[in-house]
């Protein structure tokens, strides 16, 4: 910044402004391209009858891959399995986190602080570190459940159906419960922060006005905590939906496969990869997560800033 820069005319200054603006736009465009190119491929390939591994403009556009997905037994099955398992896991996590978050927000007992710190630590346990012990826990629970089923039901067909539903290894219940458990620390934390923001006076005045406990919960607490439930539910759903490790470990039979595993195994068949099918499936699999994320975005900072004191 010497004499030269002082001598710049109005025109010069505005040119300099454009230059910095140009740099801003150029940088943002480059970052956006980096973010977008893989999506351009997957979307174009999913509507290209001659889909391949390479990015190219389709010569013709058709939705056939998507229709095939729903006509194709396994594709539809994976989608339904994913929905059933992840929605159940999200609901369980939400209900448990709703109770837990409320209790930990309202209590003044000695266990409040230790529990909050413990939840932070539980939240950062890396799931891959748990695979061996969790696998053994699941095997044990599986034995118990199946022994119970065999004791209660005598009919073999019923035994098999019940076993499919309630088994911990290669069954629905185990996957649902473990996915729910993994989402709980964050969900409890979110619910706790939202309940903290609801003054206890609201509940007390409702009680004084003669509302029953259930009425207070339904008419006062749940409506006020709705944004909390939305945030906790969205994050639980996104994380469970995207999880790959748990289905990889605990599903083997084809009827039980969910989207991530189905996609992964279909992709491993190196001899005959059907890129049209895979890309359409990937788009369908990604869509719910993107929609959920677009709603969850505004909660992101709230949930992670577990309150940092400067």
């Amino acid at each position: 910044m010497s004499i030269a820069s002082n001598a710049i005319t109005t025109n010069g200054t505005s040119q300099k402004m454009t230059k910095s603006q140009f740099k801003t736009y150029l940088t943002l465009i480059l970052i956006s391209l980096y973010c977008m190119v893989p999506f351009i491929w997957v979307v174009l390939a999913s509507v290209d009858p001659k889909a391949s591994q390479f990015l190219k403009i389709p010569e013709s556009v058709s939705m056939d891959h998507y229709w095939n997905l729903f006509a194709n037994q396994s594709g539809l099955r994976w989608i339904l399995n994913s929905i059933v398992i992840n929605v159940s896991a999200t609901i369980i996590a939400l209900v448990f986190a709703g109770f837990g978050g409320y209790a930990i927000s309202r209590t003044k007992a000695w266990w409040k602080l230790p529990l909050l710190y413990a939840i932070i630590l539980v939240r950062i346990v890396p799931p891959p570190a748990l695979i061996v012990p969790v696998y053994k826990v699941m095997l044990t629970l599986n034995d118990w459940v199946n022994a119970l089923i065999n004791a209660v039901f005598t009919d073999v067909a019923t035994q098999q159906t019940m076993s499919r539903a309630f088994s911990f290894v290669d069954g629905y219940l185990g996957l649902i419960l473990i996915l729910a458990a993994m989402q709980l620390p964050l969900a409890i934390w979110i619910m706790k922060t939202f309940f903290d923001a609801i003054p206890i006076d609201y509940e007390e005045s409702a009680a004084i006005d003669g509302a029953t406990q259930w009425q207070t919960v339904r008419k006062v607490l749940i409506p006020l905590a709705m944004p909390g439930f939305a945030a906790a539910g969205l994050f639980a759903f996104i994380n469970a939906w995207g999880d790959f490790l748990m289905p990889l470990m605990f599903t083997s039979s084809p009827e039980l496969q969910t989207l991530p595993l189905g996609l992964f195994r279909a992709f491993l068949r190196v001899d005959a990869i059907d890129y049209g099918f895979l890309t359409a499936l990937a788009v369908i699999y990604t869509l719910p997560a993107v929609i959920a994320f677009s709603f969850a975005r505004k909660f992101l900072t709230q949930t992670f800033s577990g309150g940092v004191k400067g």
Partner: protein, 294 residues
């Protein structure tokens, strides 16, 4: 009367806490402790030890610390975390946050495009990038570098670690951007005005005001992104499964390979113990250091 009411309330709270605690205990806390005890046995899925495992003391750890593959895995994990979470995501996220706070057009569009990768399931991330990294002259990345006169490469074979770092950076830019944007916008504007009046240059304002005021957010970001990157599994597993030649075998993959490919559960558990201890240390450090408000 008052006392019994209080007491009943406390009991209700405990009761409400129970289902969540039970679920977390069965599937997270108990397994974490169980990993410690398993790591002291020669538990295996095949062979003699599968029938009857026995207590072997610290011999898994002796073997672990003498195992070059373990040290390799630790090194790869460290480089992966530093390369993607600490450097890649942070720099690009910070840059995007700063640029998007300027008065520019298409703000919402840029924002949406940068956020999109963050929402994608791990498995799809791997699938998308295998296509980007496809070898041969039609591979997308090869066609891009061809403009700069670079010959087609086999990215996942020649630069495997760099390749997974680029993928994870891609995925996490949005998280850094969102967090840092909120940090940047919470810095009071009058501080900047006061500094300008005092004649501070842009550079001085950036280093003396923006960065120090942003420090708590930066630390929060570093903590969250370090522990999440440390726990990554699916993304690398779908891209490279730890290969070629263990060059991308981050700890999660190493545990999986030792336990379910080599069937050595006890040994796998000892790696898991190391991984648990490291993440707990990071967690305790963070909680103590920054007095997390609970």
């Amino acid at each position: 009367m008052q006392l019994t009411y209080e007491r009943r309330k406390q009991l209700t709270y405990r009761f409400m806490m129970t289902p969540a605690l039970l679920l977390m205990f069965i599937f997270i806390v108990f397994p974490a402790f169980y990993a410690f005890s398993l790591s002291l046995t020669n538990e295996a899925l095949l062979g003699f030890a599968a029938k009857e495992s026995s207590f072997v003391g610290l011999s898994n750890f002796e073997r672990l610390f003498a195992d070059p593959l373990f040290w390799n895995s630790l090194k790869v994990t460290l480089l992966f975390v530093i390369g993607s979470a600490v450097i890649g995501q942070f720099l690009l996220g910070f840059l995007s946050a700063v640029l998007l706070l300027r008065p520019i057009r298409f703000k919402a569009m840029f924002n949406a495009m940068i956020c999109l990768p963050n929402a994608v399931p791990e498995m799809v991330v791997g699938f998308l990038w295998i296509s980007m990294y496809a070898s041969g002259e039609y591979g997308t990345l090869n066609r891009i570098v061809a403009w700069f006169g670079v010959d087609p490469q086999q990215w996942l074979y020649s630069f495997p670690l760099m390749a997974i770092i680029i993928v994870n950076t891609w995925r996490g830019v949005a998280f850094a951007m969102i967090l840092l944007t909120s940090g940047l916008s919470s810095i009071p504007k009058d501080i900047y005005e006061a500094a300008r009046v005092d004649g501070a240059s842009d550079r001085q304002i950036f280093w003396r005001i923006t960065i120090p005021m942003l420090m708590p957010t930066i630390f929060l970001y570093m903590f969250v992104s370090t522990v999440t990157t440390f726990a990554i599994f699916g993304l690398v597993y779908t891209l490279s499964r730890g290969g070629p030649a263990n060059s991308t075998e981050i700890l999660g993959i190493y545990i999986y390979n030792q336990s379910f490919t080599a069937f050595q559960l006890g040994y796998g558990a000892s790696v898991a113990v190391v991984s648990l201890v490291v993440s707990m240390l990071i967690g305790v450090f963070y909680v103590r250091m920054f007095k997390v408000e609970v």
